[in-house]
Protein backbone atom coordinates (compact mmCIF):
# COMPACT_ATOMS: atom_id res chain seq x y z
CA UNK A 1 0.00 0.00 0.00
CA UNK A 2 2.67 2.46 1.03
CA UNK A 3 4.70 1.63 -2.08
CA UNK A 4 1.73 2.35 -4.31
CA UNK A 5 1.12 5.61 -2.49
CA UNK A 6 4.78 6.59 -2.90
CA UNK A 7 4.57 5.69 -6.61
CA UNK A 8 1.44 7.84 -7.11
CA UNK A 9 2.94 10.77 -5.23
CA UNK A 10 6.20 10.51 -7.23
CA UNK A 11 4.43 10.42 -10.63
CA UNK A 12 2.02 13.22 -9.71
CA UNK A 13 4.94 15.26 -8.33
CA UNK A 14 6.85 14.89 -11.60
CA UNK A 15 3.71 15.92 -13.49
CA UNK A 16 3.22 19.19 -11.59
CA UNK A 17 6.92 20.10 -11.58
CA UNK A 18 6.94 21.21 -15.22
CA UNK A 19 4.27 23.88 -14.67
CA UNK A 20 5.83 25.05 -11.41
CA UNK A 21 9.21 25.55 -13.12
CA UNK A 22 7.59 27.93 -15.61
CA UNK A 23 5.69 29.72 -12.86
CA UNK A 24 8.68 30.32 -10.57
CA UNK A 25 11.19 30.65 -13.41
CA UNK A 26 13.76 28.51 -11.64
CA UNK A 27 14.41 24.77 -11.86
CA UNK A 28 16.03 24.29 -8.44
CA UNK A 29 13.38 26.28 -6.58
CA UNK A 30 10.55 24.37 -8.26
CA UNK A 31 12.26 21.03 -7.56
CA UNK A 32 12.64 21.95 -3.88
CA UNK A 33 9.00 23.04 -3.61
CA UNK A 34 7.69 19.84 -5.22
CA UNK A 35 10.04 17.76 -3.06
CA UNK A 36 8.62 19.43 0.07
CA UNK A 37 5.04 18.86 -1.12
CA UNK A 38 5.82 15.20 -1.88
CA UNK A 39 7.34 14.69 1.57
CA UNK A 40 4.32 16.38 3.18
CA UNK A 41 1.99 14.03 1.29
CA UNK A 42 3.98 10.95 2.32
CA UNK A 43 3.89 12.19 5.93
CA UNK A 44 0.21 13.18 6.12
CA UNK A 45 -1.71 10.90 3.76
CA UNK A 46 -1.07 7.62 5.61
CA UNK A 47 -2.74 9.25 8.67
CA UNK A 48 -5.45 11.41 7.03
CA UNK A 49 -6.14 9.18 4.04
CA UNK A 50 -5.51 10.18 0.41
CA UNK A 51 -7.41 13.43 -0.29
CA UNK A 52 -10.28 13.22 -2.82
CA UNK A 53 -8.22 15.18 -5.37
CA UNK A 54 -4.57 14.25 -4.75
CA UNK A 55 -3.35 16.20 -7.79
CA UNK A 56 -5.01 19.42 -6.59
CA UNK A 57 -3.66 18.86 -3.08
CA UNK A 58 -0.09 18.42 -4.36
CA UNK A 59 -0.33 21.36 -6.78
CA UNK A 60 -1.58 23.82 -4.18
CA UNK A 61 0.84 22.54 -1.54
CA UNK A 62 3.79 22.85 -3.94
CA UNK A 63 2.74 26.43 -4.83
CA UNK A 64 2.54 27.32 -1.13
CA UNK A 65 5.95 25.73 -0.51
CA UNK A 66 7.39 27.75 -3.41
CA UNK A 67 6.05 30.98 -1.90
CA UNK A 68 7.49 29.90 1.49
CA UNK A 69 10.92 29.28 -0.07
CA UNK A 70 10.84 32.65 -1.87
CA UNK A 71 10.02 34.40 1.45
CA UNK A 72 12.49 32.36 3.49
CA UNK A 73 15.36 33.07 1.14
CA UNK A 74 14.57 36.80 1.29
CA UNK A 75 16.98 39.06 -0.52
CA UNK A 76 18.90 36.18 -2.06
CA UNK A 77 15.76 35.12 -3.89
CA UNK A 78 14.78 38.65 -4.85
CA UNK A 79 15.87 37.97 -8.41
CA UNK A 80 13.87 34.75 -8.59
CA UNK A 81 10.85 36.57 -7.17
CA UNK A 82 11.09 39.08 -10.00
CA UNK A 83 10.93 36.23 -12.49
CA UNK A 84 8.21 34.35 -10.63
CA UNK A 85 4.57 34.66 -11.57
CA UNK A 86 3.24 35.33 -8.05
CA UNK A 87 -0.30 35.78 -9.36
CA UNK A 88 -0.33 32.25 -10.73
CA UNK A 89 1.37 30.92 -7.59
CA UNK A 90 -1.39 32.22 -5.34
CA UNK A 91 -4.27 30.96 -7.51
CA UNK A 92 -6.48 28.30 -5.95
CA UNK A 93 -7.27 26.43 -9.20
CA UNK A 94 -5.37 23.88 -11.29
CA UNK A 95 -3.77 24.76 -14.64
CA UNK A 96 -5.78 23.45 -17.64
CA UNK A 97 -4.68 20.15 -19.18
CA UNK A 98 -3.35 21.86 -22.34
CA UNK A 99 -1.08 24.11 -20.27
CA UNK A 100 0.30 21.12 -18.35
CA UNK A 101 1.09 19.30 -21.60
CA UNK A 102 2.91 22.33 -23.04
CA UNK A 103 4.89 22.64 -19.82
CA UNK A 104 5.81 18.95 -19.88
CA UNK A 105 7.13 19.36 -23.42
CA UNK A 106 9.10 22.44 -22.33
CA UNK A 107 10.69 20.46 -19.51
CA UNK A 108 11.51 17.53 -21.82
CA UNK A 109 13.27 19.78 -24.34
CA UNK A 110 15.13 21.66 -21.59
CA UNK A 111 16.38 18.45 -19.94
CA UNK A 112 17.47 17.13 -23.34
CA UNK A 113 19.06 20.34 -24.64
CA UNK A 114 22.06 19.58 -26.88
CA UNK A 115 24.19 22.07 -24.90
CA UNK A 116 24.05 19.67 -21.91
CA UNK A 117 26.34 16.64 -21.70
CA UNK A 118 24.49 13.42 -22.67
CA UNK A 119 24.99 11.86 -19.18
CA UNK A 120 23.62 15.04 -17.60
CA UNK A 121 20.52 14.92 -19.82
CA UNK A 122 19.74 11.37 -18.68
CA UNK A 123 20.36 12.24 -15.03
CA UNK A 124 18.19 15.35 -15.15
CA UNK A 125 15.41 13.45 -16.95
CA UNK A 126 15.38 10.77 -14.23
CA UNK A 127 15.32 13.42 -11.53
CA UNK A 128 12.72 15.82 -13.00
CA UNK A 129 10.65 13.90 -15.57
CA UNK A 130 10.49 10.64 -13.60
CA UNK A 131 10.67 12.23 -10.15
CA UNK A 132 13.36 9.83 -8.88
CA UNK A 133 15.34 10.90 -5.82
CA UNK A 134 19.02 11.81 -6.18
CA UNK A 135 19.91 8.45 -4.57
CA UNK A 136 17.70 6.50 -7.01
CA UNK A 137 19.09 8.47 -9.96
CA UNK A 138 22.62 7.65 -8.79
CA UNK A 139 21.75 3.95 -8.48
CA UNK A 140 20.27 3.77 -11.99
CA UNK A 141 23.33 5.46 -13.50
CA UNK A 142 25.77 3.37 -11.44
CA UNK A 143 27.34 6.18 -9.46
CA UNK A 144 27.18 7.40 -5.86
CA UNK A 145 24.77 9.93 -4.42
CA UNK A 146 27.38 12.67 -3.78
CA UNK A 147 28.69 12.53 -7.35
CA UNK A 148 25.13 12.56 -8.71
CA UNK A 149 24.16 15.54 -6.54
CA UNK A 150 27.20 17.42 -7.84
CA UNK A 151 26.39 16.57 -11.46
CA UNK A 152 22.76 17.67 -11.08
CA UNK A 153 23.82 20.94 -9.43
CA UNK A 154 26.29 21.69 -12.22
CA UNK A 155 23.63 20.91 -14.82
CA UNK A 156 21.06 23.24 -13.21
CA UNK A 157 23.75 25.93 -12.94
CA UNK A 158 24.51 25.61 -16.63
CA UNK A 159 20.81 25.89 -17.51
CA UNK A 160 20.47 29.04 -15.38
CA UNK A 161 23.80 30.74 -16.17
CA UNK A 162 23.76 30.11 -19.90
CA UNK A 163 20.00 30.73 -20.10
CA UNK A 164 18.89 27.54 -21.76
CA UNK A 165 15.33 28.58 -22.63
CA UNK A 166 12.27 26.87 -21.11
CA UNK A 167 10.57 26.50 -24.43
CA UNK A 168 9.37 23.99 -27.01
CA UNK A 169 11.49 24.44 -30.16
CA UNK A 170 9.80 25.88 -33.24
CA UNK A 171 8.57 23.29 -35.77
CA UNK A 172 11.50 24.12 -38.03
CA UNK A 173 13.97 23.26 -35.24
CA UNK A 174 12.25 20.02 -34.16
CA UNK A 175 14.19 17.72 -36.54
CA UNK A 176 17.45 19.00 -35.02
CA UNK A 177 16.24 18.74 -31.41
CA UNK A 178 14.18 15.51 -31.37
CA UNK A 179 17.09 13.05 -31.69
CA UNK A 180 18.58 14.24 -28.37
CA UNK A 181 15.21 13.77 -26.66
CA UNK A 182 14.71 10.30 -28.14
CA UNK A 183 18.29 9.34 -27.22
CA UNK A 184 17.59 10.16 -23.56
CA UNK A 185 14.44 8.00 -23.48
CA UNK A 186 16.25 5.14 -25.23
CA UNK A 187 19.34 5.42 -22.98
CA UNK A 188 17.06 5.29 -19.96
CA UNK A 189 15.45 2.07 -21.14
CA UNK A 190 18.82 0.54 -21.98
CA UNK A 191 20.18 1.40 -18.54
CA UNK A 192 17.32 -0.59 -17.01
CA UNK A 193 17.33 -3.41 -19.53
CA UNK A 194 21.00 -4.21 -19.85
CA UNK A 195 23.02 -2.85 -16.93
CA UNK A 196 26.76 -3.42 -17.39
CA UNK A 197 27.24 -5.28 -14.12
CA UNK A 198 25.35 -5.96 -10.91
CA UNK A 199 23.14 -8.52 -9.23
CA UNK A 200 19.98 -8.43 -11.40
CA UNK A 201 19.58 -8.56 -15.16
CA UNK A 202 16.58 -6.24 -15.37
CA UNK A 203 15.71 -3.34 -13.12
CA UNK A 204 11.93 -3.40 -13.56
CA UNK A 205 11.34 0.14 -12.41
CA UNK A 206 13.71 1.91 -14.83
CA UNK A 207 12.30 0.13 -17.89
CA UNK A 208 8.80 1.04 -16.76
CA UNK A 209 9.81 4.67 -16.31
CA UNK A 210 11.38 4.78 -19.77
CA UNK A 211 8.22 3.32 -21.31
CA UNK A 212 6.13 5.88 -19.42
CA UNK A 213 8.33 8.72 -20.77
CA UNK A 214 8.19 7.29 -24.29
CA UNK A 215 4.38 7.17 -24.06
CA UNK A 216 4.30 10.75 -22.77
CA UNK A 217 6.58 12.00 -25.55
CA UNK A 218 4.54 10.21 -28.23
CA UNK A 219 1.27 11.55 -26.80
CA UNK A 220 2.69 15.10 -26.76
CA UNK A 221 4.07 14.88 -30.32
CA UNK A 222 1.72 12.34 -31.97
CA UNK A 223 2.59 13.41 -35.53
CA UNK A 224 6.36 12.96 -35.19
CA UNK A 225 7.80 9.71 -36.57
CA UNK A 226 10.77 9.40 -34.21
CA UNK A 227 8.94 9.34 -30.83
CA UNK A 228 6.50 6.77 -32.32
CA UNK A 229 9.46 4.61 -33.39
CA UNK A 230 11.10 4.88 -29.95
CA UNK A 231 7.86 3.83 -28.25
CA UNK A 232 7.46 0.95 -30.73
CA UNK A 233 11.02 -0.23 -30.03
CA UNK A 234 10.55 -0.06 -26.27
CA UNK A 235 7.19 -1.87 -26.34
CA UNK A 236 8.47 -4.65 -28.65
CA UNK A 237 11.48 -5.15 -26.36
CA UNK A 238 9.40 -4.86 -23.22
CA UNK A 239 6.95 -7.48 -24.57
CA UNK A 240 9.70 -10.12 -24.43
CA UNK A 241 10.84 -9.23 -20.93
CA UNK A 242 8.71 -11.78 -19.01
CA UNK A 243 10.45 -14.56 -20.97
CA UNK A 244 14.02 -13.21 -20.71
CA UNK A 245 14.64 -14.55 -17.19
CA UNK A 246 13.39 -17.78 -15.64
CA UNK A 247 11.78 -17.92 -12.17
CA UNK A 248 15.21 -18.49 -10.62
CA UNK A 249 16.48 -15.25 -12.20
CA UNK A 250 18.64 -17.01 -14.81
CA UNK A 251 19.04 -15.70 -18.38
CA UNK A 252 16.90 -17.39 -21.02
CA UNK A 253 18.36 -16.94 -24.51
CA UNK A 254 16.08 -15.83 -27.32
CA UNK A 255 16.34 -19.35 -28.83
CA UNK A 256 14.99 -20.96 -25.64
CA UNK A 257 12.35 -18.40 -24.69
CA UNK A 258 8.75 -19.52 -24.24
CA UNK A 259 7.09 -17.28 -26.82
CA UNK A 260 3.71 -17.82 -25.20
CA UNK A 261 5.01 -15.66 -22.36
CA UNK A 262 5.61 -12.69 -24.66
CA UNK A 263 3.08 -9.93 -24.12
CA UNK A 264 0.84 -10.10 -27.21
CA UNK A 265 -0.93 -6.82 -26.44
CA UNK A 266 2.38 -4.90 -26.25
CA UNK A 267 3.56 -6.58 -29.47
CA UNK A 268 0.36 -5.56 -31.26
CA UNK A 269 0.69 -1.99 -30.04
CA UNK A 270 4.38 -1.87 -30.98
CA UNK A 271 3.77 -3.21 -34.50
CA UNK A 272 0.98 -0.68 -35.12
CA UNK A 273 3.18 2.19 -33.88
CA UNK A 274 6.06 1.06 -36.08
CA UNK A 275 3.80 0.95 -39.14
CA UNK A 276 2.43 4.41 -38.38
CA UNK A 277 5.95 5.76 -37.83
CA UNK A 278 7.27 4.30 -41.10
CA UNK A 279 4.32 5.78 -43.02
CA UNK A 280 5.33 9.25 -41.79
CA UNK A 281 8.92 8.86 -42.91
CA UNK A 282 9.91 9.50 -46.46
CA UNK A 283 13.28 8.09 -47.49
CA UNK A 284 15.86 6.73 -45.06
CA UNK A 285 14.57 4.99 -41.91
CA UNK A 286 15.97 6.31 -38.62
CA UNK A 287 17.89 4.05 -36.18
CA UNK A 288 14.86 3.59 -33.89
CA UNK A 289 12.64 2.48 -36.77
CA UNK A 290 15.30 -0.03 -37.86
CA UNK A 291 15.83 -1.40 -34.34
CA UNK A 292 12.05 -1.62 -33.89
CA UNK A 293 11.80 -3.41 -37.26
CA UNK A 294 14.36 -5.97 -36.04
CA UNK A 295 12.42 -6.44 -32.79
CA UNK A 296 9.21 -6.73 -34.85
CA UNK A 297 10.76 -9.45 -37.00
CA UNK A 298 11.44 -11.51 -33.85
CA UNK A 299 8.03 -10.71 -32.39
CA UNK A 300 6.27 -11.92 -35.55
CA UNK A 301 8.14 -15.26 -35.77
CA UNK A 302 6.33 -18.21 -34.22
CA UNK A 303 9.64 -19.86 -33.33
CA UNK A 304 13.37 -19.20 -33.23
CA UNK A 305 13.96 -21.63 -36.09
CA UNK A 306 11.24 -19.98 -38.17
CA UNK A 307 12.84 -16.53 -37.88
CA UNK A 308 13.66 -14.76 -41.16
CA UNK A 309 17.36 -14.34 -40.36
CA UNK A 310 18.27 -13.08 -43.83
CA UNK A 311 15.81 -10.20 -43.36
CA UNK A 312 17.26 -9.50 -39.91
CA UNK A 313 20.80 -9.37 -41.36
CA UNK A 314 19.52 -6.95 -44.02
CA UNK A 315 17.97 -4.71 -41.32
CA UNK A 316 21.22 -4.76 -39.31
CA UNK A 317 23.13 -3.74 -42.45
CA UNK A 318 20.78 -0.77 -42.86
CA UNK A 319 21.10 0.09 -39.16
CA UNK A 320 24.91 -0.01 -39.31
CA UNK A 321 24.83 2.26 -42.37
CA UNK A 322 22.89 5.00 -40.52
CA UNK A 323 24.14 4.41 -36.95
CA UNK A 324 27.30 2.30 -36.69
CA UNK A 325 27.81 0.75 -33.23
CA UNK A 326 29.69 -2.17 -31.73
CA UNK A 327 26.52 -3.58 -30.16
CA UNK A 328 24.65 -3.59 -33.49
CA UNK A 329 27.63 -5.13 -35.31
CA UNK A 330 27.77 -7.88 -32.66
CA UNK A 331 24.05 -8.62 -33.04
CA UNK A 332 24.48 -8.67 -36.80
CA UNK A 333 27.19 -11.34 -36.46
CA UNK A 334 24.75 -13.48 -34.41
CA UNK A 335 22.11 -13.08 -37.14
CA UNK A 336 24.66 -13.97 -39.84
CA UNK A 337 25.52 -17.16 -37.92
CA UNK A 338 21.83 -18.11 -37.79
CA UNK A 339 21.33 -17.33 -41.48
CA UNK A 340 24.54 -18.81 -42.89
CA UNK A 341 26.16 -20.97 -40.20
CA UNK A 342 28.75 -20.51 -37.42
CA UNK A 343 31.73 -20.09 -39.78
CA UNK A 344 30.08 -17.11 -41.50
CA UNK A 345 29.17 -15.75 -38.04
CA UNK A 346 32.80 -15.99 -36.88
CA UNK A 347 33.90 -14.14 -40.04
CA UNK A 348 31.34 -11.40 -39.31
CA UNK A 349 32.70 -11.09 -35.76
CA UNK A 350 36.20 -10.34 -37.06
CA UNK A 351 35.92 -6.55 -37.55
CA UNK A 352 33.77 -6.00 -34.41
CA UNK A 353 35.61 -4.49 -31.40
CA UNK A 354 35.95 -7.20 -28.69
CA UNK A 355 34.33 -6.98 -25.25
CA UNK A 356 32.88 -9.49 -22.78
CA UNK A 357 29.72 -10.06 -24.88
CA UNK A 358 31.83 -10.37 -28.06
CA UNK A 359 33.86 -13.16 -26.40
CA UNK A 360 30.61 -14.82 -25.25
CA UNK A 361 29.22 -14.85 -28.82
CA UNK A 362 32.51 -16.11 -30.19
CA UNK A 363 32.57 -18.92 -27.60
CA UNK A 364 29.05 -19.98 -28.62
CA UNK A 365 29.91 -20.01 -32.34
CA UNK A 366 33.19 -21.91 -31.76
CA UNK A 367 31.27 -24.54 -29.77
CA UNK A 368 28.74 -24.85 -32.60
CA UNK A 369 31.65 -25.47 -34.99
CA UNK A 370 32.76 -28.30 -32.66
CA UNK A 371 35.86 -26.37 -31.51
CA UNK A 372 35.21 -26.90 -27.77
CA UNK A 373 38.76 -26.12 -26.62
CA UNK A 374 38.72 -22.71 -28.30
CA UNK A 375 35.16 -22.16 -27.00
CA UNK A 376 36.31 -22.75 -23.40
CA UNK A 377 39.15 -20.23 -23.90
CA UNK A 378 36.76 -17.62 -25.35
CA UNK A 379 34.29 -18.17 -22.48
CA UNK A 380 37.14 -17.59 -20.03
CA UNK A 381 37.93 -14.30 -21.80
CA UNK A 382 34.24 -13.28 -21.56
CA UNK A 383 34.20 -14.07 -17.83
CA UNK A 384 37.27 -11.86 -17.29
CA UNK A 385 35.16 -8.81 -18.25
CA UNK A 386 32.10 -7.09 -16.82
CA UNK A 387 28.88 -9.11 -17.05
CA UNK A 388 25.68 -9.08 -14.99
CA UNK A 389 25.49 -11.88 -12.41
CA UNK A 390 22.89 -13.92 -14.39
CA UNK A 391 24.99 -13.55 -17.57
CA UNK A 392 28.05 -14.66 -15.62
CA UNK A 393 26.29 -17.76 -14.29
CA UNK A 394 25.07 -18.60 -17.80
CA UNK A 395 28.58 -18.25 -19.21
CA UNK A 396 30.06 -20.42 -16.45
CA UNK A 397 27.44 -23.10 -17.14
CA UNK A 398 28.21 -23.13 -20.84
CA UNK A 399 31.96 -23.24 -20.22
CA UNK A 400 31.50 -26.29 -17.97
CA UNK A 401 29.39 -28.04 -20.66
CA UNK A 402 32.05 -27.42 -23.31
CA UNK A 403 34.89 -28.44 -21.00
CA UNK A 404 33.05 -31.72 -20.31
CA UNK A 405 33.07 -32.50 -24.03
CA UNK A 406 36.86 -32.23 -24.12
CA UNK A 407 37.56 -35.07 -21.70
Amino acid sequence: MHDRLAETVRIEGARILATLIRTVGNLQLAEDAVQEAVLAALREWPATGVPPQPRAWLTLTARRKAIDILRREGARAAKEREGADLMELSRPDLPPEGVVRDDQLRLIFTCCHPALAPESRVALALRTLCGLSVAQTAAVLLTNEAAMAKRLTRTRQKITASRIPYRVPADADLPARLPAVCAVVHALYTSGHAPVGGPVLVDVDVCGEAVRLARLLHSLLPDEAMPAAVLALLLLTEARRPARVDPAGEVVLLADQDRARWDAALIGEGLALLDASLRRTAGVADPYQLQAAIAAEHARSASYAGTDWAEIVRLYDLLLSVAPSGAAALSRAVAVAEAAGPAAGLDALGPVPPGPRWHAVRAELLARSGRYGAAVEAATEALAGELTDPERRHQERRRAEWAARLT
Binding site: A115, A161, S162, R163, I164, P169
Partner: protein
Protein backbone atom coordinates in the same frame (compact mmCIF):
# COMPACT_ATOMS: atom_id res chain seq x y z
CA UNK B 1 19.09 40.14 -22.42
CA UNK B 2 22.23 38.27 -21.55
CA UNK B 3 25.78 38.53 -22.78
CA UNK B 4 27.89 35.71 -24.14
CA UNK B 5 31.55 35.68 -25.04
CA UNK B 6 32.10 33.75 -28.25
CA UNK B 7 35.74 32.65 -28.32
CA UNK B 8 37.06 31.62 -31.73
CA UNK B 9 39.45 28.68 -31.89
CA UNK B 10 41.08 28.27 -35.29
CA UNK B 11 44.43 27.53 -36.91
CA UNK B 12 47.07 29.75 -35.31
CA UNK B 13 47.24 32.23 -38.20
CA UNK B 14 48.54 35.77 -38.66
CA UNK B 15 45.37 37.60 -39.68
CA UNK B 16 47.47 40.40 -41.23
CA UNK B 17 49.17 38.10 -43.72
CA UNK B 18 47.94 38.71 -47.29
CA UNK B 19 46.79 35.07 -47.67
CA UNK B 20 44.28 35.65 -44.84
CA UNK B 21 42.57 38.54 -46.65
CA UNK B 22 39.74 36.36 -47.90
CA UNK B 23 39.09 34.86 -44.43
CA UNK B 24 39.17 38.29 -42.80
CA UNK B 25 36.62 39.52 -45.33
CA UNK B 26 34.28 36.66 -44.30
CA UNK B 27 34.55 37.73 -40.65
CA UNK B 28 33.76 41.32 -41.69
CA UNK B 29 30.58 40.13 -43.41
CA UNK B 30 29.55 38.26 -40.25
CA UNK B 31 30.21 41.32 -38.07
CA UNK B 32 28.28 43.60 -40.39
CA UNK B 33 25.27 41.30 -40.62
CA UNK B 34 25.10 40.84 -36.84
CA UNK B 35 26.17 44.35 -35.79
CA UNK B 36 23.17 44.92 -33.53
CA UNK B 37 24.01 41.80 -31.44
CA UNK B 38 27.76 42.43 -31.11
CA UNK B 39 28.91 44.57 -28.17
CA UNK B 40 32.65 44.11 -28.64
CA UNK B 41 35.16 42.06 -30.57
CA UNK B 42 38.89 41.54 -30.90
CA UNK B 43 41.30 39.82 -33.23
CA UNK B 44 44.45 38.39 -31.67
CA UNK B 45 48.03 38.25 -32.98
CA UNK B 46 49.26 34.64 -33.36
CA UNK B 47 50.31 32.70 -30.24
CA UNK B 48 54.00 33.18 -31.22
CA UNK B 49 53.59 36.73 -29.91
CA UNK B 50 52.15 35.55 -26.58
CA UNK B 51 53.81 36.07 -23.21
CA UNK B 52 52.89 33.86 -20.28
CA UNK B 53 53.02 35.57 -16.88
CA UNK B 54 53.28 33.77 -13.56
CA UNK B 55 53.94 35.04 -10.05
CA UNK B 56 55.89 32.64 -7.85
CA UNK B 57 54.19 31.63 -4.60
CA UNK B 58 51.68 34.33 -3.67
CA UNK B 59 50.92 37.96 -4.54
CA UNK B 60 54.14 39.99 -4.58
CA UNK B 61 56.29 37.00 -5.51
CA UNK B 62 58.82 37.04 -8.33
CA UNK B 63 57.31 37.68 -11.72
CA UNK B 64 58.30 35.08 -14.26
CA UNK B 65 57.52 35.71 -17.90
CA UNK B 66 57.97 33.12 -20.56
CA UNK B 67 57.78 33.44 -24.28
CA UNK B 68 55.48 31.64 -26.61
CA UNK B 69 52.23 29.74 -26.39
CA UNK B 70 51.12 28.33 -23.08
CA UNK B 71 50.45 24.98 -24.69
CA UNK B 72 51.04 23.76 -28.21
CA UNK B 73 47.63 22.91 -29.69
CA UNK B 74 46.24 22.50 -33.17
CA UNK B 75 43.56 25.14 -32.60
CA UNK B 76 44.39 28.36 -30.79
CA UNK B 77 42.36 31.20 -29.34
CA UNK B 78 42.43 33.73 -32.17
CA UNK B 79 39.74 36.25 -31.23
CA UNK B 80 36.38 36.85 -29.61
CA UNK B 81 32.99 38.51 -29.98
CA UNK B 82 30.84 39.77 -27.12
CA UNK B 83 27.30 38.76 -28.12
CA UNK B 84 24.08 40.10 -26.66
CA UNK B 85 21.17 37.64 -26.94
CA UNK B 86 17.92 36.64 -25.25
CA UNK B 87 19.01 33.09 -24.43
CA UNK B 88 21.48 30.37 -25.31
CA UNK B 89 19.55 29.26 -28.41
CA UNK B 90 19.74 32.81 -29.82
CA UNK B 91 23.45 33.10 -28.94
CA UNK B 92 24.20 29.77 -30.59
CA UNK B 93 22.34 30.84 -33.73
CA UNK B 94 24.62 33.89 -33.99
CA UNK B 95 27.81 32.00 -33.06
CA UNK B 96 27.05 29.44 -35.78
CA UNK B 97 27.55 32.22 -38.37
CA UNK B 98 31.10 33.03 -37.23
CA UNK B 99 33.46 31.58 -39.88
CA UNK B 100 35.55 30.00 -37.08
CA UNK B 101 32.58 27.68 -36.42
CA UNK B 102 33.36 25.75 -39.60
CA UNK B 103 37.10 26.48 -39.83
CA UNK B 104 37.61 25.46 -36.20
CA UNK B 105 35.29 25.89 -33.23
CA UNK B 106 33.49 28.62 -31.33
CA UNK B 107 33.18 28.37 -27.54
CA UNK B 108 30.16 30.25 -26.20
CA UNK B 109 30.38 31.27 -22.53
CA UNK B 110 27.74 33.21 -20.59
CA UNK B 111 29.13 36.41 -19.06
CA UNK B 112 28.45 36.90 -15.35
CA UNK B 113 25.96 39.75 -14.93
CA UNK B 114 27.64 42.85 -13.47
CA UNK B 115 25.19 43.34 -10.55
Amino acid sequence: MAQYLALTYTADVDWFAPEQAEAVAEYRVFAKENAQHLKASAVLHPTSTATVVRVVGARGGDVITTDGPYAETKEALTGYYLIEADDLDAAVAIAAQIPAAWGGAVEVRPVLAAN
